[in-house]
Amino acid sequence: MSELTAAPGEVAVARALAAPPAPWRLLLRKPTFLIGAAVLLFWVICGIFGHLIAPFDPLVQQLIAKNTSPSGAHLFGTDPLGRDVLSRVIVGARDILLIAPLATLLGTACGTAIGLAMGYLGGVVDAVLGRIVEAVLALPVVIVAFLFIVAVGPSSLTLIIVVGFIFTPLIARTVRTAVLVESQLDYLSSARLLGERPAYIMFAEILPNVLPVIVVEFTVRLGYAIFAVATLSFLGFGVQQPTPDWGGDIAANYGLLGAGYWWETLFPALAIASLVMAVNLVTDSIEQVISS
């Protein structure tokens, strides 16, 4: 070793590059993120503590106060059964905020596992899974959802499974593409030369590197999940009445628009719009930070 002690000039002088600022710091500098996060936080609070915040019990019917327009007593008015619209909007945040993230989580978990297997193992695995994914993607999403719900019957659990199922091939495809990019890199060969097993390479070596892609995909899908859950609720496949639910309440009351009772649908509609936009503002910011 003595003849090999570092010659003066050859000592690799350290050059730790200035570490880039943590991603969350960059996020906090983005106004779009802050606005989106604030709105999202508001709805999450409504979802959790809705019953405490709401001025009325969202289920209590006041038959003497049916279809009253917004006033001091009922800021958002009342519905055909005399229930307080404001209270139903506040409490209605809960189910969608439970169903959509769970569905997205399910789809992301399944999609990631399938995508990793397709991208890394390749060959027969990729071909067989690829055919299945293609077949599912070849059907219009809404049709898949229909078939599922018609066959199993509407419930929150069905909704989670349906939306998760629809997302799985989409996420699998994205993850597969990312994994294929990683597969070109030599660190996987390097791991194989250490005798590592495929499962280890997929989950311990590749997964951390495709995680940013998965995070972006998760947030993007979360937006769509809210879209899908609200839509399916509107079509009558989601949370069943009388539980307060934005999509369900709109479905129940939009027939009365012609009679001029606009508040019964407008406020839940605005609630949905604000929630999806908030999620997408957050998503967009995260995407920008990760890609920069």
Binding site: T32, P140, L147, L235, G247, G258, T265, A269, A273
Partner: protein, 317 residues
Amino acid sequence: MTRYLLRRIGLAIVTLWLLSLIVFLAGQVLPGDPGRAVLGPFASQAAVRAYDHQLGVDRPLIVQYLGWIGGLLRGNMGTSYTFRSPVEPFVVAALGNSAKLAVLALVIIIPLGIAGGVFAALHVGRATDRVISLTGLAASTVPEFVSGIVLIIVFGIALKALPFQASTSAGASIPDQLDHLILPVIPLVLVLFGYIARMARAGTVEALDSDYARTATLKGLPRSVVIRRHVLRNSLLPTVTVIATQTGYLIGGLVVVEQLFRYQGIGGLILTAANGKDFPMLEAGILVVGTVYMVATLIADVLYTVLNPRLRVGVSA
């Protein structure tokens, strides 16, 4: 090229067949039997059984499936449980109505989405780009029934500017029909605008940053020529496929919009059939929608191959 086409068509047919199988099986696992669903809870068991026998749903599955497929191939889609008459007239009429709405939406959205995306890309990083991108994002993520409700309240009720029932009486003039379709088409356009604009923007930004765009600029070509000949030619290619895949979303949107605006389209037909457990109607509706979607993606794939010299050669080799 021909080999690719044949393979692609074969694949589409296989997928359709799979769809028919799924549709059929999904219909079978439905809770409750059709006789009970149609005749109601108070009908006698014997009447239900007789009705089931009349429909043929008490035969073995494989026999039912083959009978159904055989009928389809002869152009006979079956008899509606609810209306007790052939389903074809319903499906054809509904498809026609939906087509009006869908074509109108596409005619508006394709130029608008591409123009928006390209415009944003040409101003990348500037305020106009951010505004277009964020507007597109917001528009594409708000469900159709939400924007529809707002449109109805604002234009239909508050301003009384437009009708918010999409259907017109039979024999209505084309301007009158269009007038009724304006409000329903906007939610569809809003959702698709974001998708198409985003793809067009991403493709154009990439092409603008490419080495070949630099080559073209440094050749001394005017910027308009660089963009038209070198940038757009390469960037709009992927957008073609996106538009086709969007027909799938469009179909989903139709279901919602038709429901909201009380329009007799294919979406409404499927929804009603599903709720009424009218399998022949449901199966026919879904298969028709599946076929339309398959044909759209097929056309897009072929178009993409024809327009892309890289693939064209790769395929013929």
